[in-house]
């Protein structure tokens, strides 16, 4: 066996993405770049804790806390689920990672399974992501031949619905139900797949675990900020000339990140965190860094690390109205406040766009936000409300314009609104 690969310079980027677009995602190239994964075991949890790794699926929960909770309850029988069910319309980094670095994700999945004492690992991938599914299938075939994993791994192509990637929904589906959230507690770490303690981690989180296991916490923390250590994958899109997945350290200037993707002339605003994120006014962008502390100052967060640019000639209210309507259609329909409140919120936003004298639609938006927030079994309604209320705040001048003069003539399309109904099984 070859000696472990020397750690690459800790501040070098990219860490997760391929070194060049033409780089092969195969096992040989993976081992050439990173070396074989180290022996697994419970010691990894402490290293992940020292690394300060936070989940990359949107909630930014400390990964080591989840690992420890599962390890304490389920040693020998726990299940680890890699969550690659990325259904946020403006996020595509998980699909790209699975297609371009499947072995890094699989290393992390297996190492996490060994760390918490799991006897089984499942990698859930959006059924509508053929490149990701193909990349992982090829990678698993290579591994079974040349580097058998100590924990059995299976792939589960998950159905297409926004909330299907919520962890209780994913567990519900893996247990044979629809991919709809369940009322918690019990949370998956207590009772998950097959009623066993279950660790659900985003696939990018697992890829970072694979590197922390190899090179350690200190190496990992050499990039990023004390509160948000490491690098992160960003989906940058909307009105930019080079939309795509980029990798940057947390704490990078928001303007620099947008600059990488080639922003349009005179952008008006930026949506950070996708359809459960928040609009940020363009005037604030130059003073903001992409980390939770800086973004909290404008009532935003890193979320799923999607950055969507609203260019000139667009209407932020119309874009938001379209996204809210789509998100309302993605409700699992299980909870009254969400099933009724989100369509009402979408109606209020349509009214806001139509405008006209006497329209007080923004008051209706505020009222619905207050009544509906926090009353779903999952945080789907809370995310929509965060985006909707940020639009009222950031596009206050447009709200007044629409109220007095009606629609502004902006043409829609900065934000993607996929066709089709949610699929639950």
């Amino acid at each position: 066996m070859r000696a472990p690969t020397e750690a690459p310079p800790a501040t070098a980027l990219p860490r997760l993405l391929a070194l060049s677009p033409a780089a092969a995602p195969g096992l040989a190239a993976h081992l050439e770049r990173w070396g074989p994964p180290p022996p697994g075991g419970p010691g990894l949890i402490g290293e992940v804790e020292r690394a300060g790794l936070r989940g990359r699926g949107g909630a930014a929960f400390p990964t080591a806390l989840k690992m420890r909770a599962v390890a304490a309850r389920g040693a020998g029988r726990a299940v680890v689920v890699g969550n690659g069910v990325e259904r946020e319309p403006v996020s595509f980094k998980d699909k790209a990672l699975l297609a371009s670095a499947p072995h890094l994700v699989l290393d992390g999945l297996v190492l996490a399974a060994e760390a918490v004492g799991a006897s089984e690992a499942v990698l859930c991938i959006d059924r509508g992501a053929p490149d990701a599914l193909r990349g992982v299938a090829t990678a698993l075939t290579e591994r079974s031949r040349h580097m058998p994993d100590p924990v059995p791994v299976r792939v589960a192509p998950a159905p297409g619905a926004y909330v299907a990637g919520e962890e209780s929904a994913l567990v519900h589906w893996l247990n044979g139900g629809p991919a709809k959230p369940t009322y918690v507690p019990p949370r998956p770490f207590e009772r998950g797949v097959g009623r066993r303690p279950t660790l659900v981690d985003n696939v990018e989180t697992l890829a970072h675990v694979a590197l922390i296991a190899r090179f350690g916490a200190e190496w990992f923390r050499a990039l990023g900020t004390p509160a948000d250590p490491g690098s992160c994958l960003l989906s940058i899109g909307g009105d930019v000339t080079r939309p795509g997945v980029y990798e940057a350290p947390y704490g990078a200037g928001l303007a620099d990140l947008i600059g990488m993707a080639g922003p349009s002339q005179a952008p008006q605003a930026v949506l950070v965190g996708g359809y459960s994120g928040a609009w940020v006014p363009v005037g604030a962008v130059s003073s903001l860094r992409f980390d939770s502390e800086s973004l909290a100052g404008v009532e935003a967060g890193v979320g799923c690390a999607a950055i969507s640019v609203l260019g000139a000639g667009r209407c932020g209210l119309m874009e938001t109205a379209r996204a809210v309507r789509w998100m309302a259609g993605q409700s699992a329909g299980q909870c009254g406040p969400c099933a009724n409140g989100l369509p009402a919120l979408a109606e209020a936003f349509d009214q806001l766009v139509r405008g006209g004298h006497g329209s007080r639609a923004e008051r209706r938006v505020a009222e619905l936000a207050q009544v509906v927030a926090g009353r779903g079994a999952c945080h789907h309604p809370d995310g929509v409300i965060r985006m909707a209320t940020s639009a009222i705040r950031v596009f206050a001048a447009e709200v007044a314009h629409h109220r007095e003069l009606g629609p502004c003539g902006g043409h829609p399309g900065a934000l993607t609104v996929p066709a089709g109904r949610p699929v639950w099984r």
């Binding site: 969400c338 009724n340 009544v371 079994a377």
Partner: protein, 68 residues
């Protein structure tokens, strides 16, 4: 030990009985779903709270031990 009311929003079918029995702590939204006061239930309302929990046709209303 103090307890708090909670609703399982998936189980709740908006029968509204809870709000009739315990208007001091539960009101209904415009669609008939309960909005419960999340603060600890005051001792003089504990009996009524237990009745409301028992009366819920879908067992959606719960009394939980308040977490510290």
């Amino acid at each position: 030990m103090s307890r708090r009311l909670a609703v399982d929003p998936i189980a709740c079918d908006a029968h509204g009985i809870c709000a009739e029995l315990l208007p001091e702590l539960i009101r209904l939204d415009e669609w008939g779903y309960p909005i419960v006061d999340a603060r600890p239930v005051p001792p003089h309302l504990e009996g009524l709270a237990r009745r409301a929990v028992a009366a819920c046709p879908t067992l959606a209303l719960k009394l939980r031990s308040a977490q510290a």
